[in-house]
């Protein structure tokens, strides 16, 4: 395991009498989905490169309950939330970074009323502040030279929590052209996965939402669709495949783009 892939768990850290600066909440997608695991690793590399002292919960982490709540099952949501809060409070966690806007929204906004009060940030916010503080140097390199990148706003990061600028500022550090879709920021169209739609077939209609969003992205002719959410990533990747554009358009998380630009 290279130094950049050091991933201590809370249990290991506590056993060594150490306290992390921040807890990295990986999320179900980031833990189990093959594509999303790559995003998780990019975040880990960035954290290690910046010498951020972090830990993960590993097997002690469990679904935040977001999809259960959005599917209307408040019981399962609250049971998940309270179990997680018990673990987090047990470790006296103060600060959390998540790899997923849904985990971010749920823990930041919906855990406090159930007894979980933490300073929660999304990975784009944390990475942006690392760049700003000068802890992370993004050389830019030639990798993205001449490339067009468009950012797809995740609903639960953008409209849900008004975070529009952090991912864009990160992307502006790359030596690439940032282009905005017609519907961006507060007007951004959903990828189709939210509200537990990720886990079911869509209702009858004349098109899939992810295909529609991919078409909107294609209007600005990007080489890369940048995402900040593992579910958006899946949906946009499928949309690009549906449109037979895999050879022209890549779907990459902002964290991965930054890790690549920083030669990690």
């Amino acid at each position: 395991m290279s130094d950049l892939m050091k991933v201590p768990t809370m249990a290991e850290m506590t056993a060594n009498g150490e306290v992390p600066e921040i807890l990295f909440w990986v999320g179900c997608s980031g833990s189990f989905d093959d594509r999303a695991k790559k995003i998780t690793k990019a975040i880990v590399k960035i954290l290690n490169k910046c010498e951020v002292k972090f830990a993960v919960l590993g097997a002690e982490e469990s679904c935040t309950g977001d999809p259960a709540k959005r599917a209307g099952n408040e019981f399962v949501f609250q049971m998940q939330a309270m179990q997680n809060i018990e673990v987090l409070n047990g470790y006296e966690i103060k600060k959390i970074v998540t790899g997923c806007p849904h985990c971010f929204n749920t823990m930041k906004n919906e855990y406090p009323e159930l007894g979980g009060n933490y300073d929660v940030v999304h990975h784009t916010q944390l990475i942006q502040s690392l760049i700003e503080e000068g802890r992370l140097q993004v050389a830019g390199g030639d990798t993205f030279k001449g490339k067009k990148i468009t950012f797809h706003d995740p609903c639960y990061l953008g409209r849900g929590n008004n975070v529009y600028e952090a991912p864009r500022e990160m992307l502006s550090k790359l030596d690439a052209e940032l282009v905005e879709m017609r519907n961006c920021k507060a007007k951004g169209l959903c990828c189709g996965a939210g509200g537990a739609q990720m886990f079911k077939e869509a209702e009858k209609g004349d098109k899939e939402v992810n295909v529609k969003r991919t078409e909107e992205a294609m209007e600005v002719k990007p080489n890369i669709i940048a995402t900040g959410c593992p579910f958006c990533n899946t949906m946009m990747t499928d949309g690009v495949k549906n449109k037979d554009q895999e050879n022209n358009i890549q779907v990459i998380d902002v964290a991965e783009l930054i890790a690549t630009a920083a030669d990690l």
Partner: protein
């Protein structure tokens, strides 16, 4: 004298009937569950000033925003002239404010006239947009029938209102220049109002004194009668937004849009389940308000909050929510505007039934199933585009979510794949069938 009495009676009837219908709506809205929006008064005033008074969210679409602004400002400022009409009507005087206000009066009425012309033009464009241009959001399924008639009626009434203003001021201008107006003569030859000093002579210049007086009176009485008609039309129309936009934005949700409300009733039960010392058979203490069993989620209008119900009466059916909805854009049944219209229509129906038949009346119908179908509810991605796009901060999403909660928690009606996802969360701590032990496997994988 007789005209003063007729006027006073009309005035009383006009406002009395309006107050009665507003009170019905108020009673309907208060059928909803309680939600606390009494905090942060300063912040609430700010939101109301920006969104309702300042029309901030309208300006996401600049052209309709400017046209709408013409109507809105004309409407607000015209209230000053309306005050004078009421004062004149009750005293038998004519243009009672003119002498007291002097040059300022000329300025105000001129301002109203200029705005009225702008409003007239804007109304024409709005009528054309609605009926000639095929703007999708005005031609969707839920807009067929009454909603379409309603939209056009409002615009036509506005045209009539403005026409009467210029009949009144125009004919009066000609009369005044001939020294025949009932308004006190201040030794000048013209009122000097910006538009009617030209339009009046041009339209009515050649008329006899008696014709002029008739035109002026038709304008005056027509205008005030239209105002009463319009006022009393409001409670039956989507146009009620001109009043409710203010309280509705004041009582906005100030929390992040991504945050869904916490269900306290569920919290109590979950805490009981997780507390090893809890006695599951404990009898609730007497006088414990929470002992009243409430439905989980919403099946009918009384299960929604009063803010949801206020939202439904505030909706003016502009359709910005629906045209921004990803489900609707891709041909699904869901239309957030329809959710709001259904909620209002069901609330009207239910309120009327209760008033007629007593408070225990049950018509066997409900918002869910009779108005809104499961298919609509499950098409939502909870993306908040509808909430974001509403110019008056209506929240269709919270109604959709509360109805999903009812379906899932009271009737166990949940799409199969979601049932599977939820049991995975319960059993494996993830929405997929992976073992919780494998959660950190990615650390070792290449």
């Amino acid at each position: 004298m007789i005209s003063i009495i007729i006027f006073a009676v009309l005035l009383l009837l006009g406002f009395g009937f309006f107050a009665m219908n507003v009170n019905k709506i108020r009673t309907n809205i208060l059928m909803g569950r309680d939600v606390d929006r009494s905090d942060n008064k300063g912040e609430r005033l700010k939101v109301m000033s920006l969104i309702a008074l300042g029309q901030k969210k309208m300006f996401k679409k600049p052209i309709p925003a400017i046209l709408h602004l013409c109507l809105y400002v004309a409407f607000v400022v015209t209230q000053i002239e309306l005050l004078e009409i009421i004062a004149d009507g009750l005293t038998g005087e004519h243009r009672v404010f003119r002498e007291a206000l002097g040059g300022f009066y000329t300025f105000i009425i001129s301002f109203i006239e200029v705005l009225s012309v702008l409003a007239f033009v804007a109304t024409f464009i709005f009528l054309a947009r609605r009926n000639l241009l095929k703007i999708p959001r005005f031609n969707m399924k839920e807009m067929k029938g009454w909603p379409k008639i309603d939209g056009n009626m409002i615009l036509v009434m506005e045209l009539i209102l403005v026409t009467f203003i210029f009949m009144m001021n125009g004919a009066d201008e000609v009369l005044y220049s001939q020294g025949l107006s009932h308004a006190e003569n201040l030794g000048d030859q013209s009122f000097g109002f910006a538009i009617s000093q030209f339009v009046g002579p041009a339209l009515f210049g050649g008329m006899s004194e008696s014709s002029l007086i008739i035109v002026e009176r038709i304008g005056w009485w027509g205008h005030i009668l239209m105002v009463f008609t319009f006022l009393n039309y409001l409670p039956f129309s989507k146009h009620f937004h001109i009043i409710l936009a203010f309280p509705n934005t004041y009582f906005s949700n100030l929390k992040p849009q991504g945050q869904f409300n916490n269900m306290e009733a569920v919290m109590k039960e979950v805490k009981l389940m997780m507390d090893p010392d809890a006695d599951p058979y404990a009898v609730p203490e007497e006088g414990d308000e929470d002992a009243v069993v409430q439905r989980f989620g919403a099946k009918d209008v009384e299960d929604l909050t009063w803010k949801n119900l206020l939202d439904s009466y505030t909706c003016t059916e502009c359709g910005r929510c629906t045209s921004s909805c990803p489900a609707n854009q891709t041909g699904k049944l869901l239309s957030p505007r329809k959710i709001m219209m259904d909620t209002r229509d069901r609330l009207e129906e239910k309120g009327e039934g209760l008033r007629k038949n007593g408070k225990d009346y049950d018509d066997g119908k409900s918002l869910l199933n009779d108005y809104i179908t499961e298919e609509e509810l499950w098409a939502c991605t909870s993306c908040n585009a509808c909430v974001e796009s509403c110019p008056v901060n209506i929240d269709p999403l919270s109604i959709i979510m509360d109805m999903r909660r009812y379906l899932v928690m009271e009737e166990s009606k949940v799409p199969n794949e979601l049932a599977g996802m939820i049991s995975n969360i319960e059993n494996n701590g993830a929405p997929w069938q992976f073992s919780p032990e494998d959660r950190l496997n990615w650390r070792e994988e290449k």
